[in-house]
Amino acid sequence: MGVTLSSVYVKLDRCSLHLPVFGTVNRSLKNLVLTTVTGGRLAGSAKNITVVEALNDVSFELKPGDRVGLTGHNGAGKTTLLKVLAGVYEPTFGRSEVYGRVSNLLDVTMGLDFEATGIDNVVLRGLLHGMSRSEIMSRLPSIWEFSGLGDFMKMPVRTYSSGMLVRLAFSIATSLDSDILLMDEWLGVGDADFNRQAEDRLLSLVKNSSILVLASHNEGIISATCNRVMRFEHGSLLSDVRL
C-alpha cells in the first residue's frame, strides 16, 4: 500500500490496456453462432478481433502538487491514459488506483447535451459529478461569469461556436469540486483573452494542491503549467522527468 498521509493520490502499477476494435463482422451474433455450430472451424476468422495495445506496462505515482504534462505523438496513448485515470477504462492487466474526486476535460463536447441550454448543462454535469442541485445552483453565477457567455447561457448548446463550447466546458470542469484535474489538448481553441484567463485559473487550481494531468503537444503550455513531464510512445512510458 502506498503510505501517504494525504487521501489524494494516483498509482498505476504495471498497467496495460488492450482495446478491442470490432468491425461490423466481428460484433455480429451470427459469427459467434456459426463458430459454435461449425465446431470452431471458423474460429480463426470469427474470433480474430483486432486488439490495439493502447497502454503497455505503465507504472507511476502521482501526489498532490504534481502537475504532469503528457507528451508524445498522436496515438502514443496520452488520451487513453487520461481515460484510465478518469475511471472510464479499467486496465486489462495491472492495477490502477485513483483516490480523490476527478474532474476531467477530455473532450470539449463530453457529456454536453446539445439541445439543452448552457445552464441546464451546468446542472447536468454537476449532477453527474455527484453534486447536489443546490450546490450547483450556488456555483452557477461564478461559472456563468467565468465563461463570459452572457445570455448565450440561456440558449441551446447546439447554437454555440466551438470557442463557446470550450468556454462552457472549461468553466464547468474547473468549477466542480475536484482533487484531480485531467485535461486533454484543449487550449488554443478559445480566443487569446479566454486562454489567459484559463491559464490563470489552472494555476490557481494547481496551487490548491490538486493533481493536474495535462496532455498537450504545445511545449509552451507544458513548461508554463507543469512540473513533471511524461513522454509516451506506442503506449509505453518513455521518460518521466521532474522540471
Partner: protein, 290 residues
C-alpha cells in the same frame, strides 16, 4: 481505506466506485462487489438519472406542441382501429372489448418500449460512458424512468374510452396500482440484461424488436385467453400475459388471479438472477464495447 469525503457536501456516490481499487483480471468476488457498488452508487444518486430521463422527455416535447402525447394519440387511434375491426370479427360487444384492448395495449407498449429502448441504454450513452465515470446502472435507470414517464403519457389514452362508454371504475381498480408497480419492477433487470448484451452484440436490438412484434400477437391483447379453449396454456405460460393481467383485470373490475401475481414476482426474480451475473461478467468491458 479512503477517508470519507469531508466538506463540500459532495455525495460520495460516484467517488466511492472510483476510490475503490480498480483491479484487472480480478476474481469473480471482486468483480461482484464492484458490480454491486455500481448498483448502490446509482441508487444513491437518483437526481443524476432522473435529470437525464427528464432531459430525454423534454427533447420529445421540443418544437412539438403535443410531444409525447403523440404516443397517446397513436395508441388511441390504433386501439380504435384494431378494436373496432376485431370486435366486429369476433362479434364482441365494443363497450367491453375496446376498453379491454386499450388496457392491454397500453401495458404492452410500456413493456415493449422498455425492451426495445433498453437495448440501447449503454450504446446510446456512448459519449457519456467514454468521457466520464458514471455508474452503469444510472444509464439503465435513465431508460427505466423515461419509459415509465412515457407510459404515464400513454395511460391517458384510456380516458376517452371511459368517457365514451361511460365506464364505471370500481374500487377494485385500485389493485391496478400494485400491478403497475410489478410491471415497473420488471424493467430495471430487463434493461440491464438487454443493454449489456447489446453493448457486445448489436444484433440483439433487431432480434428484440422482432420478438416483440411476434409477442404482440401471441399475448392476449387483441384476443382473450378463453378463446384458446384447450390451448389456454399458451397464455398461462406467457409471463407477459400476467404482467398485463395484473393491471388490466382490476381496471376491468375483476381481481387478478393469484397465479398472475406469482408469475410476475417469479419473472422479476428470474430476470435479476440472469441479468446480474451478466453485468458482473461484462461491467469492466462495457466502456470499451459501446
Amino acid at each position: 481505506m479512503r477517508s470519507p469525503d469531508v466538506g463540500g457536501g459532495i455525495s460520495s456516490s460516484v467517488d466511492l466506485v472510483h476510490g475503490s481499487d480498480v483491479p484487472s483480471h480480478a476474481s469473480w468476488s471482486e468483480q461482484s462487489s464492484l458490480a454491486l457498488a455500481d448498483l448502490f452508487a446509482s441508487m444513491r444518486a437518483p437526481a443524476m438519472w432522473s435529470a437525464l430521463a427528464w432531459i430525454d422527455i423534454k427533447h420529445r416535447y421540443r418544437r412539438s406542441v403535443l410531444g409525447p402525447f403523440w404516443i397517446t394519440i397513436t395508441m388511441a387511434v390504433l386501439i380504435l382501429g384494431i378494436g373496432t375491426l376485431y370486435g366486429i370479427l369476433f362479434n364482441l360487444p365494443l363497450r367491453d372489448y375496446l376498453p379491454y384492448i386499450a388496457l392491454g395495449d397500453i401495458v404492452w407498449i410500456y413493456m415493449s418500449t422498455a425492451a426495445q429502448e433498453g437495448c440501447s441504454a449503454f450504446t446510446a450513452s456512448e459519449n457519456l460512458i467514454r468521457s466520464m465515470r458514471v455508474p452503469f446502472m444510472a444509464h439503465v435507470m435513465r431508460v427505466v424512468l423515461r419509459c415509465f414517464l412515457v407510459f404515464l403519457h400513454g395511460a391517458v389514452a384510456y380516458l376517452p374510452f371511459v368517457l365514451i362508454f361511460d365506464l364505471e371504475i370500481s374500487t377494485v381498480a385500485l389493485y391496478a396500482i400494485p400491478g403497475v408497480v410489478l410491471v415497473a419492477l420488471m424493467t430495471p433487470p430487463l434493461i440491464l440484461l438487454l443493454s449489456c448484451l447489446t453493448a457486445r452484440f448489436r444484433d440483439i436490438q433487431p432480434i428484440v424488436t422482432n420478438m416483440m412484434q411476434m409477442g404482440f400477437f401471441l399475448t392476449p391483447i387483441i384476443w382473450k385467453p378463453e378463446m384458446l379453449g384447450e390451448h389456454r396454456w399458451v397464455a398461462d405460460f406467457n409471463p407477459l400475459f400476467h404482467f398485463i393481467e395484473v393491471v388490466r383485470a382490476p381496471m376491468m373490475g375483476n381481481l387478478p388471479e393469484m397465479q398472475s401475481y406469482i408469475a410476475c414476482i417469479v419473472s422479476v426474480l428470474v430476470l435479476w438472477i440472469v441479468a446480474f451475473p451478466v453485468f458482473i461478467a461484462v461491467r469492466r468491458k462495457l466502456s470499451v464495447w459501446v
